[in-house]
Amino acid sequence: MTATAPALTARRAFRKKAVVPWLFLAPGLLLALVFKFWPMAKGIWLSFFDVRPFLGDRWIGLDNYTRVLTDHRFQEAIGHTLVLGIGQSVGAIVVGFALALLLEGQARSLKILRTAVFLPAVTATAVVGELWRLMYYPTSDGLINSGLHFFGLGTVQFLDNPNIALYSTMAMGIWIWAPYNMVIFLAGLAGVDRSLYEAAAMDGVSLGQRLRYVTLPAIRPALMIVLTLATIRGLRVFTEVYVLTGGGPAGSTEVWMTRAYTLGFTRNDIGGASAASVVLLCVTLLLTVVVNHLRTRGEAR
């Protein structure tokens, strides 16, 4: 009697203890399930169907996939997505690192500067898009064009020239993400041991060598994180393009997601758009796994 009573309460306490975390997790899991994972499953399901409202869906196997992957506008979009994603990521990393090196320090003036420079990262993409659309105004009195005019250069049709529009979009992307990367790099730089700099100076090491052999290895973790985030973000770029150019002119800035959006919402091809989304999802997942693998291997070394 005396032996079983505590055992019983202990078991009951254990059972109660096992339920508690799930109660706390329930709201989050429920919302994620209904608004993230269920749509994902539904998207994968629909990608195998010819979706016909009122007529009933018809199973067509991989037809949507072959249709999307052989569509030349999607093929062009792959190229644009890669150029925009990689160019924007690399540009934002280089500019962000330069900004971090420039604005590193404890002075109050530098803190104010950092606050000001970070503004693009906190502004809604829709607002940024409108701002850049006006800055890119194609006549000689547009903001950027008047600057070019000042230096004796001709006017540029930033958003109307199919050969330039993609790079104009890229410049805006770099402008948005460079300050964001700057902050991550600044955190990395703050972790560099100051005595290493002093030791380097005593050994007569030049500034360039110091940057290469002391600073860069120390901020490598920060660099890897920035790179991972940027690559994934680059592949699924949508809002930047949608608010700035809408995919035009002549489809020259059409990326994978804007193409899928047009297919799904304008042309009502739900099956094709779902297949396109699933392809992107798979590539993103694969990329994340690969990058994570490289990261853990790099850290173990």
Partner: protein, 314 residues
């Protein structure tokens, strides 16, 4: 080498290395304080740095001045943007108001307020379970929350729009209601992961002492854990607000008709309206910009440390 990186950006502990560097700074010369060895005495390098800073300011901050100056200028005609307003006027805002921008701002504020509240509650509860409890399937749940970050609205837009029109099991139509935007934003993997990391660092002794005093789960969370992770909550709040305010596609697909739009979506429709000029679009941009500007400037300190902390951890 990764440990000091993470520690230096942790926003919570008052004795962070960042705090210590300020003290060390006085003992070591300033040229060892930055990676490039900037000197704070006036000279050639100092002059170059000031010049570069001015360029950075001109590129990244000055464009915001053109938004404000254009919004208060009578006819900015799209092209003649400048950094200072001329012919100061409020007529652009009057036209923007007639186009319903204040109503859209109202929609945005309701969604941002409700969405942020829901997101903070949901993510805090989940993080508490993940950080302070051990249970079967913990790693799997953590991975599920991480996966929500892989599923942004862009990628699941089409099926999500179908789900919003007919929620499974309940068969509710959320389209045209603020819930259609608020509920999908509730479980944000980033906040869950950041708060989990933070709550894990709370010493077990504090929790054990409270348990001995007979403190229950909810009181433990509310009175012991939450006050200790206020900095992380601040970060989750600011980043959550900016993330919700930035939403574009979700309010677009959750809307039933244009009166449901948020201010960011309405801005793009304002531009396509041939009647209004760019002055009005800029006035709309100002209206969309102000709330995020206020939140940022009030809480920018915790935000900047927070992004770095969250990113290096996540």
């Amino acid at each position: 080498m990764s440990a000091p990186v993470i520690d230096s950006v942790r926003p919570a502990a008052p004795d962070t290395p960042a705090g210590r560097t300020t003290k060390d700074q006085r003992t070591t010369p300033a040229r060892f304080d930055t990676a490039l060895g900037w000197n704070d005495k006036p000279g050639l390098a100092w002059g170059l740095r000031v010049l570069l800073c001015l360029i950075a300011l001109a590129v990244f901050a000055a464009p915001f001045l053109t938004i404000f100056s254009g919004a208060f200028t009578t006819h900015p005609s799209g092209s003649s943007l400048s950094f200072l307003p001329h012919d100061t006027t409020l007529s652009n805002f009057r036209v923007a108001a007639a186009q319903g921008m204040w109503d859209y701002l109202g929609n945005s504020l309701v969604i941002a307020g409700g969405g942020l509240l829901l997101q903070l509650v949901v993510c805090t509860l989940a993080a508490y379970a993940l950080a302070r409890h051990r249970f079967r399937g913990q790693a799997l749940i953590m991975m599920l929350f991480m996966m929500t970050l892989m599923l942004p609205e862009e990628v699941i837009a089409i099926p999500l729009s179908l789900v919003l029109g007919d929620v499974p099991v309940l068969h509710l139509d959320l389209k045209g209601t603020v819930w259609g935007v608020i509920l999908p934003l509730g479980a944000w993997g980033f906040s869950v992961m950041m708060l989990t990391e933070f709550m894990r660092d709370i010493p077990d002794e504090i929790e054990e002492a409270a348990r001995l005093d007979g403190v229950g789960e909810l009181r433990m969370l509310w009175q012991i854990v939450l006050p200790l992770c206020r900095p992380a909550l601040g970060v989750a709040g600011v980043l959550g607000f900016i993330m919700i305010w930035d939403q574009y596609l979700l309010p677009l697909i959750a809307a039933k008709d244009p009166t449901d739009y948020t201010v960011t979506v309405a801005l793009a429709t304002l531009r396509t309206d041939p009647v209004v000029g760019s002055g009005v679009v800029l006035a709309g941009a100002v209206i969309a910009l102000i709330p995020s500007l206020i939140v940022y400037l009030l809480l920018q300190r915790s935000l900047v440390t927070g992004i770095a902390a969250g990113a290096t951890k996540g």
